[in-house]
Symmetry: C2
Subunit: 223 residues, 2 copies
Amino acid sequence: MSEPGSRRGRGRAHDAEGAREAILNAAEEVFAEHGFDGARIDAIAETAGYNKSLIFHYYDDKLGLYAAVLKRIDEQGAELQATLLAPLGADESLTSDTDKFRTFLATATRLLFDVLIEHPRLSRMIAWEEAEGWQTMRKIASQFNTEDEKLFRQLLNKAQQAGIIRPKIDPDRLFYIIYAVCQSYLTTIPFMEMAFEGEDLSSPDALKQAREMIVDFVIHGVM
Amino acid sequence: MSEPGSRRGRGRAHDAEGAREAILNAAEEVFAEHGFDGARIDAIAETAGYNKSLIFHYYDDKLGLYAAVLKRIDEQGAELQATLLAPLGADESLTSDTDKFRTFLATATRLLFDVLIEHPRLSRMIAWEEAEGWQTMRKIASQFNTEDEKLFRQLLNKAQQAGIIRPKIDPDRLFYIIYAVCQSYLTTIPFMEMAFEGEDLSSPDALKQAREMIVDFVIHGVM
DNA sequence: TTATAATCTAACCAGTTGGTTAATTAACCA
DNA sequence: TGGTTAATTAACCAACTGGTTAGATTATAA
């Protein structure tokens, strides 16, 4: 009747991998919804369908669990970027050919926006970090690699030297500004919906429209 | 020796206004630091130097206290905007004269950025709201007026009809995007400082530089 | 001076918090 | 079959949570 591991409670089949993953999924959900301090281990355990103390057995403490969640997201992100963005960025003429750079910038901005939409839990966790001044992230930052970010910054630096990016724009901060526009637009949607009284800004159509506006805004703001 | 109200603990002089203000100040501080759910009433009471139950006596419950904090900020904000921004916005030629509009947009963006810098508690409280999906704000939204926002949106609509704002930019959302750039840049500073390893981005000089970059970015992104 | 209202406080409550302990159960190997 | 190890759990703990209660202290008006 029941597959191994599907039994709940006392006497379930042993399945370490399954348990770890279930806990990680639950943790991602609860951390995204309530932030680090606000997340309740009991809630994570219940969502995962495993006993609370199993969490401490696998991930030491709350912070270790949080780090594990972010690590998994980071790996997925690196994979995504390697597949989609790297081939574009490898083109040497990108930082000298204005049209090519415009296309690249538009693609990258669209991609970033889409990633945040399709992974609202990531977006939410970042929002919580922003609110609490990144104090949780700071404790575990050393566990993550920032190579991709550095590469992107180098690319933008070259483009500015070639005169494609306006001189007043700091290429080192540009990546974060573009990210800020996308992220903060999304987190401000509930507020805008309150101000616009009833208008639905989170429908696929509305989001697509917003995305194109942001792409237009970024390209003209940068170039 | 001691002025009325300065005595602490048992048998202090009665001073309702002073107590209310002390509580409101403490609440603003603690809410900014920990958000609505994370803020502890005990911490607010201790910071204020008054007994916890006095908080409930004056502000009913945690939500009432939060609403009172935001109301005070809102009143200060309305005052500020009326003094600084309204005279500029009243100029009828603003929405037809490109140069005038550019100056206005730059001034408004600078002002917004400066307000967020000079009132980091406001910025933090907004960040907490963004993280928790504005659920606290939504409960008390009816207590605030949105007239200033509506006026600003009307202004931007006129400017677009006159062809000053690029057609792809939605003037209704523009205000929130500009705000998003400023707010999110500031909340991302700790993260950038982690990435840039040691560089100080919150010094007055660095902030001024960032502000001018954002103004440049916004103006070219919009016009 | 005295009654009354306003201001302020100590002590308390039931429910919740992250984390620990020790025991039980299932898988695996000889 | 029996013994070892890893997976899983119930029960527990001290500290803390928003909120209440009943009473003490002070200001004020008569």
